[in-house]
């Protein structure tokens, strides 16, 4: 099986174990010039393509509204839709399981694999299985879980963790990928040809030959789902390579781990999402490989199908009045590609399988903010709003971030520990409560101006400012003073 160099494994439900909290992780990422070049180039390309693709539709804003409303309506009645889905899928021959958390989902998965005495499983690219740490849990039990999405394969062979929903190896360039293939493929299956180059065609061919062996020799497949249709019990997977379809059709047994928010009430609802998802994620007009299946069909495809419906914090998020809109997310990654913070620090800095702006709100919603990783995430944003504008299901990420910051502030206040920020905010609020206090502060600042001109480094919280930026010179008189001097006492 794949050796793993890295100590960064997803801990089910929480941040990658061993990842420092965001600010420190960002420091490490910013020091990596290669990473910044790779990310800058990749996000700029995808973001420009998305913009062009979205501009082709004159009803784009209506589609966004429709997508948001379908999701909201479904979430408002989620229990009923889930039970309807269970009944329809069961009637079609699937076995439906309910998992309250990651541990339960892993245990159900392991039981299925053990019942078939399988030593290997093949996987469709799936966020839900990453979220529950499936590969790592299987590895501990001696079961090999093979990723078959090209980028996930690169990540797995490189002993790495994904840094993007859609392009998990976005932090790697072609030369790095070539080297990973040459070094690692032979250890876990068919080796890469010795004369491999970094041409995309050659890299894809090496992966195709390597994976073909896995597809033909493995009898259990694992997937997630992009959508689950309540009225029919159908699961839907969108992908670009066809490798997913191999995993969904060739094995004897198929296990799909599906977040409970993936439900759509009717087949007709897909119409909207089949338009917004491809354009928002890969900037394609139409998705290349869309696989839909409803239970078991005798003599065609997997003959045993399991669906694990996963909560793992989703009902916690659903209970949050402002935050529940995050459950509309269809994992398109448009918000990652437009985020100026993500572009500079990459996905790993967020310490979760869900990085970027959506990760910054989703992790605290799923787990709360008592963990330092989760508590750092709401601040990993300049609140520029580019994510909200790009989101195809209109998740108002900046507003949710602001609410979560308030949650962090409350949590810290409850802890009773002294807190420099809270003190500074109290002093500022006291000053702003009366213009005479503000004017007094301005006069004091004006008197300190000659000294302040020589200040290059400030202590404490403001040290972050002067580490890279000069302070503006303090003016001799404030606007208040100028107005009063030149225009009289106002009113």
């Amino acid at each position: 099986m794949a050796k793993t160099d890295s100590t960064l494994h997803p801990r089910p439900g929480v941040a990658f174990l061993g990842m420092p909290a965001f600010t420190e992780a960002a420091h490490i990422a910013l020091g990596d010039d290669q990473l910044r070049r790779n990310l800058g180039r990749a996000t700029r390309t995808i973001r420009d393509k998305r913009k062009r693709s979205v501009a082709e539709l004159d009803d784009w804003q209506d589609l966004r509204t429709a997508a948001a409303m379908i999701k909201d309506r479904t979430l408002a009645d989620l229990d009923r839709h889930l039970e309807q889905f269970e009944a329809a899928a069961t009637a079609a021959g699937a076995i439906v399981h309910w998992a309250a958390d990651a541990d339960e989902a892993v245990r159900i998965s392991l039981d299925i694999v053990r019942a078939h005495q399988a030593s290997d499983v093949i996987k469709v690219k799936s966020m839900a299985t990453q979220e529950i740490g499936l590969n790592e849990a299987f590895a501990e039990e001696g079961i090999h879980a093979w990723e078959t999405d090209l980028a996930e394969l690169i990540v797995q062979l490189g002993g790495d963790t994904p840094s993007h929903f859609l392009v998990p190896a976005i932090h790697r360039n072609r030369e790095e990928i070539k080297q990973i293939f040459l070094d690692r493929m032979g250890e876990v299956g068919r080796p890469a040809p010795e004369d491999l180059t970094d041409e995309p065609r050659r890299l894809a061919e090496a992966a195709r030959l390597h994976l073909r062996e896995k597809f033909l020799n493995t009898s259990v497949g694992f997937s997630g789902a992009n959508f689950a249709i309540a009225e029919t019990g159908t699961l839907v997977v969108l992908e670009s390579e066809g490798n997913g379809r191999m995993c969904l059709t060739l094995p004897d047994v198929l296990v799909s781990v599906v977040g409970i928010e993936k439900i759509l009430p009717t087949f007709a609802d897909l119409e909207v999402f089949m338009q917004v998802l491809p354009r928002s994620s890969t900037a394609e007009r139409m998705n290349p490989y869309t696989t839909m299946w409803t239970g078991v069909t005798e003599g065609d495809g997997p003959q045993e199908m399991h669906i694990i419906l996963l909560d793992n914090g989703r009902t916690r998020a659903l209970a949050d009045n402002t935050g529940r809109q995050a459950l509309r997310c269809i994992r398109c990654s448009a918000c990652l590609n437009v985020c100026p913070v993500y572009e500079r620090v990459g996905g790993h800095a967020y310490g979760s399988v869900y990085p970027g702006p959506i990760g910054a709100i989703l992790n605290p919603l799923l787990h709360g903010v008592s963990d330092e990783h989760d508590a750092a995430l709401p601040y990993a944003s300049s609140l520029c709003g580019a994510c909200y504008k790009a989101c195809p299901v209109k998740i108002d990420i900046p507003t949710v971030l602001i609410e979560q910051r308030a949650e962090v502030v409350d949590e810290r206040a409850d802890s009773g520990r002294p807190n420099a920020e809270a003190l500074a905010m109290r002093i500022a609020a006291w000053t702003f409560a009366d213009h005479r206090r503000l004017e007094r502060a301005q006069r004091l600042a004006g008197r300190a101006a000659p000294i302040a001109r020589h200040v290059r480094r400030l202590p404490g919280l403001l040290g972050g400012w002067t580490s890279s930026r000069d302070l503006p010179p303090i003016p001799d008189e404030s606007f208040h003073q100028w107005w009063e001097r030149t225009r009289g006492a106002g009113r």
Binding site: V345, L383, A433, S468, P475
Partner: protein, 239 residues
């Protein structure tokens, strides 16, 4: 320029706590432009802050008190003009969420007021120099001011406007983000400045004192001859 003959338009300016304290020239320039266009400008001295910093950092209660204090101070205003997209956005879009039931007067960002209310794009300014414009995030995405600042700048005598690459990307200020995640904030700002320098412009113009302070601080640390200026300062120019 359009000299308005009819009854003067009464406006109250909300200078913002940042411009009031650190960039009074921005406030003075705002007064100059409005008065040149025939407005009767009032500055209610009881004004302080819109509450944005507190709200965005997670302190909604004091933010709500500041919004209420703003509403009291400007209760009689026909129109409030603000030389800041983000403070305007705070009041217009978040004011009622932190101060439920509050009654706010009509609040306009400077370029909105000039173009939409006064119906002016040529404000009679002269500025000899090359300028590139950074459309601040909240003007762009929260208020949707669109091309208004560009139209105002294009009408300035002697000004040559250069297109800023990746213009819509945030400069990295982000309020307390600038100190809490100072390194990411600076990395964003450095890229913004590199893009601005690539245009060869002598001035980076923005419509928010906060972005101006952030970019200006980075430029000063680099000892760059390029200056950061507020839109109001350029529109007030008569050189």
């Amino acid at each position: 320029m359009t000299q308005r003959e009819e009854k003067p338009v009464k406006v109250s300016i909300f200078v913002t706590c940042l411009a009031d304290t650190l960039f009074p020239d921005v406030g003075r320039a705002t007064v100059t432009v409005l008065e040149r266009l025939g407005c009767e400008v009032d500055f209610p001295v009881a004004q302080t802050c819109c509450g944005q910093m507190h709200m965005n950092t997670g302190y909604a209660r004091p933010a709500g008190e500041m919004v209420r204090s703003f509403a009291d101070t400007f209760a009689d205003a026909d129109a409030v003009v603000v030389p800041s997209g983000s403070c305007t956005g705070m009041l217009r879009h978040h004011g009622r969420s932190v101060a439920p039931g509050v009654h706010l007067p009509p609040v306009y960002e400077l370029s909105e007021f000039l173009v939409d209310v006064l119906g002016v794009t040529d404000v009679g300014a002269t500025f000899n120099g090359t300028v590139t414009y950074h459309p601040t995030c909240h003007s762009l995405r929260l208020l949707g001011v669109g091309d208004r600042p560009y139209r105002l700048l294009q009408a300035v005598n002697g000004l040559e406007l250069r297109e800023l690459p990746e213009a819509e990307q945030c400069c990295g200020f982000g309020g307390t983000f600038a100190v809490k995640n100072a390194e990411v904030s600076s990395a964003m700002g450095e890229d913004k400045i590199d893009n601005a320098l690539s245009t060869g412009a002598e001035v980076i113009c923005t419509s928010d004192s906060s972005c101006m302070m952030h970019l200006g601080g980075l430029l000063s640390r680099r000892k760059s001859p390029v200056r950061s200026m507020h839109l109001a300062e350029i529109l007030a120019g008569r050189e």
